[in-house]
């Protein structure tokens, strides 16, 4: 029977038409609102309840009709609008730095230590490999780099002449952020991607140190990385640990399904990535302005490197913004 040839459905349609028109007109306005007052929010909930009531009746009286689909769609529009997250304000920002980032960092602390061990082991392997088979350096360094080192020049020596420090910082930052985010995202391959990224970076650093050591330039390379290296390397370890944690959520799900477990872990680790990006920004500035400059002595570089590293520890441990004491 066609919907409104059923007498009860036809009567119901005629009785409700005016309400549907009014409710639908109000529904159209809801998603377009950038902000809602308390009254508007309560009114939206009233519309939602009324729409849901009509939808339930329509499903019983007119199953599969356009009216049921339209009421369902209006209900869904309201549902999406009601489920809108609060604005990202100052309070949320405070929670992010005071609670979320330290919690995320604490959750990967042990993994980060293992990742550091993996990096050190890879660096030692890289050192051994290049020390034993010097010809293999062409795998990890370009011909220009090799030629320069063989003639007593580090590739970092000409950094200032290549581009102004600001542009250099931006370039370094974008490169580091890609490596860091790559280490995190590749963790989705059950953690193996993150292991690969960390191991390959360790191998390259160890290999390059061995190569420069063979030509008496290792100390100059260490001098170059002293100011920005501690935080830059720590951030890469943290991102690798976060990627591994993501892979672990897939291998050993803690919730009902792997997808749910992955989603929850990614949401927990998100704040840590924000911290990593901010730390890399500072690291990029140091690498662009301080590291290539011959004006800064080793103690100054060491002070900058350790100072920035201490700041990172404060941020990750939640001591940068302490919690207010209960009762104060």
């Amino acid at each position: 029977m066609a919907p409104d040839r059923d007498p009860s459905a036809a009567v119901w349609i005629r009785a409700c038409a005016a309400q549907w028109q009014a409710l639908a007109e109000q529904t159209v306005a809801v998603p377009q609102r950038a902000h809602a007052t308390v009254d508007e929010a309560l009114q939206t909930l009233r519309i939602y309840r009324a729409m849901a009531r009509h939808l339930a009746s329509a499903r019983r009286l007119l199953p599969g009709s356009f009216l049921t689909t339209a009421l369902e769609s209006a209900c869904a529009t309201l549902h999406v609008a009601i489920g809108r997250p609060p604005k990202f304000g100052r309070a949320r920002l405070l929670t992010l730095f005071r609670d979320d980032i330290p919690a995320a960092a604490a959750s990967v602390r042990v993994t980060a230590l293992w990742i550091t061990c993996l990096f050190v082991a890879s660096a030692l392997a890289g050192w051994w490999l290049i020390s034993t088979y010097p010809a293999l350096v062409s795998i990890i360094a370009s011909d220009r780099m090799i030629d320069g080192v063989e003639h007593g020049r580090l590739w970092t020596d000409q950094l200032f002449s290549v581009a102004p420090p600001g542009v250099l910082s931006a370039r370094i930052f974008s490169n580091n952020i890609v490596v860091t985010l790559g280490a995190f995202c590749s963790g989705i391959l059950f953690g193996l991607g993150a292991f690969y990224m960390i191991a390959i970076n360790g191998l390259m650093l160890g290999g390059l140190l061995a190569f420069t050591h063979q030509h008496g330039l290792a100390l100059r390379l260490i001098r170059f990385i002293l100011a920005h290296g501690p935080v830059e390397l720590s951030v890469i370890f943290l991102a690798g640990a976060a990627g591994t944690a993501l892979g672990e959520a897939l291998i050993r799900p803690r919730l009902a399904t792997r997808a749910e477990s992955l989603r929850r872990r990614a949401a927990e680790l998100g704040p840590l990535l924000i911290a990593c990006a901010l730390l890399l920004l500072g690291s990029g500035l140091i690498e662009g302005f301080i590291s290539p400059s011959p004006r800064f002595s080793i103690p100054v570089r060491l002070a900058v490197g350790l100072g920035y590293w201490a700041l990172m520890l404060l941020l990750l441990s939640g001591k940068l913004i302490p919690r207010p004491r209960v009762g104060s």
Partner: protein, 244 residues
């Protein structure tokens, strides 16, 4: 087997379904967005190049603008999706044009964190080129999601906000006209698509409807009725306009 709908548990206990957007809608939206961000970035690069070609005397004035344009171009290209998705609450101009929006698996508007996480995984989804990982994942997952969606807990659904407008118009028509609901909907559909249809097609459909529904319509005497005349008669059937 892919799901056609995302079933959402309503706050009142009444479930509702959101139609999931497939790889076609996804690709269409992406292509529009890609064109917009590419053109915007290229326009900025062009501006920077043109400023560099100006006479040397003007260089000090334009140097800063040229540098800013060079810096802004990649920023627009790479940050287009995350920034616009956060600002437009799960939409971009391309998604709006394709009639799609991002929602969470619970059917709510995603948080900024979810949207950023979703965009972060473009690094993997875009590998090894042309979004092959993302598209492949989209073809083989139940909710037709790419890796970024899977991690962020989001789904691309068809945005049917326009249906509420149609419901409002239909509600108005139901109060004024004695015609059955499905017939009113048919007329409403034709009027909604009036300008999208070709003159001959819409005229043929309108005449067929009028011949069945309007007792005052005579196919021979009203043969010369123009497009506007036919539309007015259909609107009259809906009870929205006066009889021509």
């Amino acid at each position: 087997m892919a799901d056609e709908e995302l079933i959402v548990r309503g706050l009142t206990g009444v479930d509702m379904a959101l139609r999931i957007a497939g790889p076609g809608t996804r690709s269409f939206a992406f292509l529009i967005d890609w064109q917009i961000r590419l053109l915007a970035a290229l326009a900025l690069v062009l501006l920077a190049v043109l400023l560099r070609l100006l006479p040397n005397a003007l260089r000090p004035l334009t140097h800063g603008v040229a540098i800013a344009a060079f810096v802004l171009a990649p920023l627009i290209y790479f940050l287009y999706h995350p920034v616009l998705e956060v600002l437009m609450r799960g939409r971009t101009p391309g998604k709006r044009r394709a009639g799609a929006r991002i929602v969470t698996v619970e059917g709510a508007t995603p948080t900024a964190g979810s949207l950023l996480m979703r965009n972060l995984f473009r690094l993997i989804d875009s590998m090894p080129g042309f979004y092959m990982v993302g598209l492949g994942c989209c073809l083989f997952t139940r909710q037709r999601v790419r890796l970024g969606d899977l991690v962020a807990g989001t789904v691309l659904v068809l945005d049917e906000a326009d249906t509420s407008r149609r419901l409002a118009r239909l509600g108005e028509a139901m109060q004024r006209s004695a015609l059955p609901l499905e017939t009113l909907r048919l007329i409403q559909d034709l009027l909604d698509r009036w300008h999208d249809l070709q003159e001959a097609q819409r005229s043929r459909l309108a005449r067929a409807l009028l011949a069945k529904l309007d007792p005052g319509y005579d196919s021979q005497s009203d043969a010369a009725l123009s497009g506007d005349g036919l539309r007015a008669r259909l609107e009259h059937l809906l009870g929205a306009g006066s009889r021509p």
